[in-house]
């Protein structure tokens, strides 16, 4: 009977949606043009930047990226448009990096690469725990901090080679996350959120006060005249070795090393890590296991009636996301010149959540695009740091007129930019809760049999009922 139903459906959908198919074709064609146009314009801008070195190119390229992001994907063929949008944003982002190097903002280009990698890695970890099974994980920074400190302590104080230290970071962070999940996941959602954010703060406090989590060891002579190695008195771990840094410096000619220094190397390694983890997590998400996780997120009751142990799967996913966060932690240890407690403030968790929300929960493509958008937004304030602008100047005058003695000399653009980030978070939650690139409804083909498109279950039901009734 089922086969009959499906064949009926195919027929009926062929009949019904012929107009829609035409519309769709035109729409896709239109978007194809938009997409190609954006890439060509971006290429032209890049060439313009390479030839003239004019900083105007940055603004132009930025507006192209925003234009691409604003393209609505909520049409009939959402998946097609979203994937094109994704590719378009990636190409434009690479163009942006090239432009940064072309106009001489080398340091900025490396920073953008590094932070895009960082936010993507952290966002992928959050996407596993929150996006896939719907655990309200506000302790991302705790997971990352555990990994980072493990990596840093092992490499700095005990001279462990970096691959082993990276795996140790992943392992420790995974165990940590698994333990949190085991003890607290049976709680209400918002209680879990509070507990996870509190654990982050506890770990930060431990990092501040615990002596053994400091480095490198300082050698001094005690009263007996013996040389003793001891932990330093101030919190923080310095001199964290960056993998391949020495080889890279030897390999690069000096005039190139000036522009493409260590930070560039870290950015490139970040891209590699992002590529690897993106590949594996996408594999995981579209596997039967990933489907099971999403079913838990959608309706725990249904999943448990099918005999699935929901709690076990939640703990497993938290563990995997902990491993991912541990990898992010190892990366964090490279990207800062030293690890301090202030690197792991809860605000970083909120930034990662912003990436997650504006990108699109549950969608890996969204996380990558969200990280790019967020990082560009965060770094763009460097260009708008112009106190002579009318808006900024009038705001500054206004503040000085009310608070003449104690107002700061100039408005720090960092604050304005954070206000914008908060606004964007609120606006996205209110008007576009599914993000820039929403999660794609996904149904696999079963034994070569093509099932009807996802997201139209009600229509399936209707046509099925009609066919059985007739």
């Amino acid at each position: 009977m089922s086969g009959k139903t499906i064949s009926n459906e195919e027929n009926s959908s062929n009949d019904d949606s012929s107009i829609w198919k035409e519309f769709n074709k035109i729409r896709n064609l239109n978007f194809e043009n938009v997409f190609l146009g954006a890439i060509i314009v971006s290429g032209l801008i890049t060439i313009f930047a390479l030839i003239t070195g004019n900083t105007l190119a940055i603004g132009l390229e930025f507006s192209v990226i925003i234009f691409l992001l604003l393209q609505s994907g909520q049409g009939y063929d959402e998946k097609y448009i979203n994937s094109k949008k994704f590719i378009g944003v990636l190409i434009n982002f690479v163009g942006m990096i090239i432009i940064f190097f072309a106009v001489g903002y080398n340091a900025l280009a490396s920073e953008v690469m590094i932070y895009v990698s960082f936010y993507t890695l952290a966002g992928l970890s959050l996407n596993l725990s929150t996006g896939m099974v719907g655990v309200l994980n506000f302790g991302v920074i705790a997971q990352i901090a555990v990994g980072a400190v493990t990596y840093a302590v092992l490499t700095v104080n005990y001279d462990v080679p970096f691959p082993i230290a990276t795996f140790a970071a992943m392992f420790v962070s995974a165990i940590f996350s698994g333990l949190i999940a085991l003890t607290t996941l049976r709680l209400r959602d918002d209680y879990f959120a509070i507990v996870s954010i509190t654990l982050g703060e506890i770990f930060r406090q431990i990092l501040k006060t615990e002596v053994t989590l400091r480095g490198p060891l300082i050698v001094y002579t005690n009263q007996l005249g013996e040389e003793v190695a001891d932990f330093p008195t101030t919190p923080g771990i310095f001199n964290i070795p960056i993998p391949f840094a020495d080889q890279y410096q030897k390999l690069m000619p000096d005039h190139l090393y000036e522009n493409y220094d260590e930070r560039f190397l870290i950015g490139i390694m970040g891209f590699l890590l992002v590529g690897l983890s993106y590949y594996f997590i996408t594999k995981l998400i579209y596997s039967p296991y990933g489907r099971l996780l999403r079913s838990i997120r959608e309706d725990e009751l249904v999943a448990s009636t099918y005999g699935k142990d929901i709690f076990r799967y939640k703990v497993e996913v938290m563990t995997i996301s902990g491993a991912m966060a541990g990898l992010t932690g190892a990366y964090t240890a490279w990207l800062f010149p030293g690890i301090f407690p202030t690197n792991f403030l809860p605000t970083v968790t909120f930034f990662i959540w912003t990436v997650f929300i504006i990108g699109g929960r549950g969608s890996n493509k969204g996380i990558l695009v969200g990280a790019i958008a967020f990082t560009l937004l965060e770094r763009m304030s460097l260009f708008f740091n112009n106190q002579d602008w009318v808006v900024i100047k009038s705001l500054n005058d206004f503040i000085h007129s009310i608070n003449p003695d104690h107002a700061p000399e100039n408005i720090a653009m960092g604050y304005i930019q954070l206000i914008i980030i908060g606004l964007i978070l609120i606006l996205f939650i209110r008007f576009a809760p599914s993000g820039l690139i929403p999660e794609e409804p996904y149904r696999p083909a079963i034994r070569g049999l093509k099932l009807p498109k996802a997201g139209s279950q009600s229509e399936d039901l209707k046509s099925g009922m009609e066919s059985s009734g007739g």
Binding site: D189, D190, I194, I202, A412, I416, I421, I426, I429
Partner: protein, 384 residues
């Protein structure tokens, strides 16, 4: 009532049994609290008797400091508790109302050049801070939470929006004042002497005085802050219990649909809750800034202890919050001096200075997590 009129033995015994069980729970919690108080008392007495030479331990400053801290925690957490109970989400922006109150106090303190006059006019800034923070809270509800609530958004969405709102408020304050620390400016005129006479001052003479060698400070501003908190919280309880509006507010937070069908303007009650809750947080900020420098991030540092108070006392139970604030503040203050003493005892070289005394900040967090794991409804919370 009906049971008495129409007695039925079976149901009667069941009711009694249920009552006994809840009474037992209540007794257990009262015992826990009593044991806690006794232990802390013993500990403080032991501290006075034996360890005052080693520990920087002084009973007066300990008690006053604990109550002062408890006052701050209580004022923040009452509003948090009310909105958590009424709307049902953890408001991460609540700590920013604290900041608003604190900075209103800072701004106001610029305009005085005599401390006596300033302290005499303290009620002006109290009302200012209350109204300013309350208005910010109401504005947050009107602009951010209200539309989401009416759309039927999940608690998760409300929580994330509250994070956004918190970021915005904190950074608006930062734009205005810069990121550095600001002080409540007291003009350098000599302060009035009466609190020192009552409690004991550095000269070693006073009513409650203990040891003349101890170095500590009990500021009259601390006493003032405690008195103010008692007045505010007492007024709030009176308002909630005795007035008609307060009863309507309690009814709304108990069951919003039922309240609406009884003709209560629930939307107005929600706004009122935001105003009172935000205002109390503003008062907490003012009390804090009396004695301490404030930075824009300070509010966030008070958010998690406030959550600890709410969870320990029980969501929806304001009296529980009072007890919980006292417990958490006392344990934090006591553990601070205890850990400080341990550091002084074991660290002769000074090499590890502060290696353990920093852990006092963790105490509320540990209580929070422990309470959530053992009994998520809190000491006085309703069973779900």
């Amino acid at each position: 009532m009906e049971l008495q009129e129409n007695p039925n033995k079976a149901t009667d015994s069941k009711v009694n049994l249920g009552d006994r069980v809840s009474n037992n729970n209540q007794i257990i919690f009262n015992i826990i609290i009593a044991v806690f108080i006794v232990i802390s008392l013993l500990f403080t007495i032991w501290g006075i008797r034996t360890a005052e030479h080693y520990f920087r331990f002084n009973i007066t400053s300990l008690i006053i400091g604990s109550i002062f801290l408890a006052a701050i925690y209580l004022c923040i957490s009452l509003g948090l508790n009310m909105t958590y109970d009424l709307i049902g989400f953890a408001n991460f922006a609540h700590a920013e109302y604290f900041i608003v109150g604190a900075y209103v106090g800072v701004l106001w303190s610029y305009s005085y050049d005599s401390e006596e006059v300033q302290m005499f006019h303290i009620f002006i800034v109290l009302i200012l801070a209350f109204v300013a923070a309350g208005l910010v809270a109401v504005l947050g509800d009107v602009i951010v939470f209200g539309p989401l609530r009416r759309k039927g958004a999940s608690n998760e969405s409300l929580m994330i929006s509250s994070i956004g709102l918190g970021i915005i408020v904190r950074n608006v304050v930062s734009v205005y004042f810069g990121g550095g620390s600001e002080y409540f400016r007291t003009p350098g005129v000599k302060a009035s002497k009466w609190p020192s006479i009552l409690i004991g001052g550095p000269d070693g003479k006073g009513f409650l005085f203990v040891d003349s060698d101890a170095t500590y400070s009990v500021d009259y501003k601390q006493i003032l802050a405690i008195v103010l908190t008692v007045i505010f919280v007492g007024t709030l309880f009176y308002f909630l219990e005795k007035t008609k509006t307060g009863t309507a507010l309690r009814a709304t937070s108990n069951n919003i649909d039922l309240a609406e069908s009884s003709g209560i303007d629930t939307e107005k009650m929600i706004k009122l809750t935001w105003f009172i809750g935000g205002g109390l947080a503003g008062v907490a900020g003012l009390i804090f800034v009396f004695r301490n420098p404030v930075i824009p991030f300070q509010g966030f540092l008070f958010l998690l202890p406030a959550f600890a108070v709410v969870v320990l006392g029980g969501v929806g139970s304001l009296k529980g919050s009072v007890v919980a604030a006292l417990i958490i503040a006392t344990s934090q203050t006591v553990s601070k001096s205890y850990l400080q003493g341990l550091t002084d005892l074991f660290d002769n070289t000074g090499h590890f200075r502060g290696f353990i005394s920093g852990y006092d900040i963790i105490v509320p967090f540990v209580i929070l997590i422990g309470m959530i794991l053992i009994k998520p409804t809190g000491l006085y919370g309703e069973e779900e």
